[in-house]
Amino acid sequence: MHAIVAIKQVPDTSNVRINPETGTLIREGVPAIINPYDAHAVELAVRLKRQFGGKVTVITMGPPKASEALVECAEQGADRGILISDRKFSAADTLATSYVLARTIEALMAEGPVDLLLFGKQAIDGDTAQVGPGVATRLGLPLISYAVGVESFDPIARTGVVHRRTERGIEVLQTTLPALLTVEKEIAAIERAPLADVIRAAQYTPEVWSASEPVAFDVAKIGIKGSPTIVGKAYTPPPKKAGAAVKVAEKGVASTVTEALAKVKAAGVVKI
């Protein structure tokens, strides 16, 4: 079994600070982490490897610093890490990113058969959820997004049954392999890695691929050239204004609650 996991190193958005004047991220004091969904994707891959044998390859596109994230994946049990890093990739949007990852995966598929491609459901910095589906589309592989569980996986028969969360419930889907899954956190709880794996990872140096070696990417399709979208402007959202507050002491509990319920309904967020 060979699973390829695509990950991203992201700023921990629970601690993000924005420079209000420039509308840019203040990197200082913001930890860089593996996108949390991606870490669960790696965990799933490692579990399948333990069950079926084989190997796990983790790929990421990013600056040189992102190789830290690949080392963390190695701690989790990944066998090989590839950092695709080149200044020519900078300012890539999701279309350019999915091109680079798809070509990288094709190159890996040329080395030998691949059974599963795993992505986090989205990255917490951009929240686009576009790269996984984009790569599946480029490779012409079956896509199951928002996967929450693997019911069965058979690398011999090349078929699997996957649970997917949608608004109407959990869809149980059968797919041929290889398939591409984007995963939620429930897909696999992260376990503490044995010390030997951590030691091995600390000695591991991920491979670095450039824009030209070992895969020659089409320069028109990468970085800012290959990105149809650009950021027009960025700004900090205005601080939220406090809504009205009504006092039970003034209006009585019944009419206060009636008013509040009407407000909730008007907001249309949930069915009352």
């Binding site: 921990d12 601690n15 004091g29 930890p31 503490r192």
Partner: protein, 111 residues
């Protein structure tokens, strides 16, 4: 060496201490909370029940310790910054103090 003698703080000095909601300070701290393992606990609630002073309620710099209605000492280990004050400061050495599992707990961004 003798035990230390203390001059009590005058009420005037006491009155100059502002009220601070420590929860507001906690928002600046990065934690990786280990939901499956509490690294601090009370060894024997009976000892706390007999402790009249309960200094831990004050000296813990992140207010980990609270007392519930039954007088039991509750431990909010999630906010712990692992300073060790309670380990040393509890007059009865009644706090079991261990380190969080590797990678968990406080992670200072600036330090």
């Amino acid at each position: 060496m003798s035990e230390r003698t203390h001059t009590p703080l005058s009420p005037e000095v006491q009155a100059t201490l502002p009220n601070v909601n420590v929860d507001d300070l906690l928002a600046s701290i990065k934690y990786y909370v280990d939901e499956d393992y509490a690294h601090l606990w009370i060894k024997d609630q009976a000892v706390c029940l007999k402790c009249a002073d309960k200094p831990c309620l004050a000296f813990c710099p992140v207010a980990v310790y609270k007392v519930d209605r039954q007088g039991h000492t509750m431990v909010g280990y999630q906010a712990c910054v692992e300073c060790g004050s309670c380990r040393v400061g509890c007059p009865y050495h009644n706090i079991a103090w261990t380190l969080p599992r590797g990678g968990n707990g406080v992670a200072y961004k600036f330090g």
